[in-house]
Amino acid sequence: MSTEVKNAVVIGAGPAGLTAAYELAKNGIRSTILEADQLVGGISRTVNYKGYRFDIGGHRFFSKVPLINEVWDDIIDEDMLLRPRLSRILYRNHFFDYPLQAKNALTGLGLFEACMIGLSFARTKVFPSRQERNFEEWVSNRFGYRLYNIFFKTYTEKVWGIPCTEISADWAAQRIKNLSLVEAVRNALLGGGGKTKDGKIITTLIDEFKYPRLGPGMMWECCQSNLESQGNHTKMGRRVERIRHSHGKVECVYARDENGELEEFSGDQFFSTMPLRELVNMMDPAPPDEVIKAANSLAYRDYLTVVLMIKRAEIFPDNWIYIHSPEVKMGRIQNYKNWSPEMVPDYSRTSLGLEYFLWDVDDEWTWSDDRLIDLGLKETVTLKLIEENEVEDGTVVRMKKAYPIYDQHYQSHLDVIRRYLDTIPNLQTIGRNGQHRYNNQDHSMLTGIYAARNVMGAKYNIWAVNVEKEYHEETVSDEKATGDRMIPRRLVPDDDAESVASDAVIRAAFAKLDPFALGSAMGLVFAISLFLATTALILKGGEVVGPHLSLLGHYLIGYKVSWSGAFLGLIEAGIGGFLLGYVGAGLRNWTMSSYTNLLKRRADLDESKDLLDKV
């Protein structure tokens, strides 16, 4: 791509779009950001209702990518809080620790249910489902059916709106970091799992997270004003409706403002964070039918939150709770003041965000705000969290296309769309819905940064972000950058070099012995040794030749210290040595592989313990 970019147009002022503009601005490229809504931040916005601030869900800031942490620090350094995490599961009016703890689960479920869970777990271990085709089989195989039924089924079905038996097992497997055998062994032997070199426990997303003082929207509002001060304007209330292109190049986009006026925005480079389904349908001239068909096949799950303002200072100490009780429709409850005390205008009050996961064709989606607030109130009372008369006020926020759906065919539809988009190099689609990927803010931002760098000559494969866990080091494509700038290559940090070395040692130590080769080697050496020992005694001679070596005849049938015995011994010692080597290598391989598999199973279980967070 050309390095002489003068003007870029960014569609959407969510994390991806604003970060792309931010990266462009750092490199002296101007951009115009077009945002359909009146708030920046997209799904990561913060809504302010009479001084009560709340997010769409709750947005933890956590990234393994140093670059993203740097950007966050750059934008709002001092306003970033480090928050402890507490989130439990509410089931049958009992709070269960999350991740599940044996003692607490036992108290909550009672001895009988706990025994049944234990039995069901044991049964799964002995008779696991042969095939792991769906989410139900996948989770049951790891935790037992009964535990799955209580702690995974209801919530997952609430979020995704389809039975767990219809959710592909791959989807669950993707959410869990699949440690390789080598990693599992390294963590078990060298203590890499969750500990630093001096033995301190590494805190994870499970324990604490960063959160801006005034909610995630604060980050994006600051980013926007930062951009504004450098002359990069965000035009609010501009919904892009048409993207005009010709000869493999986008020329301009048309956005409608709130008065219904259509405005044209032209540029050299275009970045889109709008849902792919919409983007494809806005292309002018229209793409081939198969591309439109693929785009229209992409599905999304919608989301709404009912926020209740309650006249009580303390309701529960958690940041959020998972609602597993099947008798209510809500899936989660956020307690915003536990994310940041400044999310409420008055600390004697609490605001609760009741989260409902819906399809836009569901009845509830079309309900009035009042009716939804009433539903939320009744359900919260049913859960015995509040009294009806404690609720002062309420509001509703709807978010369409909050979750891109990974159905059986989405990947092939994406491939078709990507092939088409590849023909228009000055249009890059980034972010969560821009890539139809279950991206968090950090992934979305990273696609924005990489796309911005691409227009300056870099060759990042933005589609590789959030595919592999360690996306941050592996997204540069093999081709060399063609622009004027050299793309700095990261040095491998010392820790990485160390683990590469230890992995090599582990691989060598756990590599299999070839039983045939070891058997043959030992057979040959034993055979020749016995042959040489026998001949030595024969040649030496004497009254009685080799009486003691002849005792081997007890084991080697027909063997004695004589010329015929020497040849017989050669064959028999060869066979004996072979068997010894063969069986020895087999036993050693079996022991090693049983041990590594055990470590791997343990590591997998450990990795699955925060599965709910990933649903």
Partner: protein, 102 residues
């Protein structure tokens, strides 16, 4: 590398033997073993010390169950062990198709 390919790499990787190291280990076992066995008989004492072990003198010229013999045995045991270990390593590596690294 993906987890699956890394797993395959481990499960399909065939160990290569360092013939030099194997020779060293066998030398230690052979030399050390014979020395300890000889010394043990000498310390235990008795009317006919190490009648059977003495027979090794047929192969290891100069070896006997005595203190000087223990040191001679140490040498012989080490050399024989090293040869055996080295041969096993070399033959093994030849069969699995990798050159031996001493």
């Amino acid at each position: 590398m993906s987890a699956r390919s890394a797993d395959q790499e481990v499960s399909h990787a065939i160990a290569r033997m360092k013939a030099g190291i194997l020779a060293f280990i066998f030398a230690m076992l052979g030399g050390g073993g014979l020395f300890v066995m000889t010394a043990w008989l000498l310390i235990k004492g008795g009317p006919q010390v190490g009648k059977t072990l003495n027979l090794l003198g047929h192969f290891f010229i100069g070896y006997s169950v005595s203190w000087p013999g223990a040191f001679v045995g140490l040498l012989y045991g080490a050399v024989t062990g090293a040869i055996i270990g080295w041969c096993i390593g070399i033959v093994y590596n030849r069969i699995v198709g990798v050159p031996s690294a001493s």
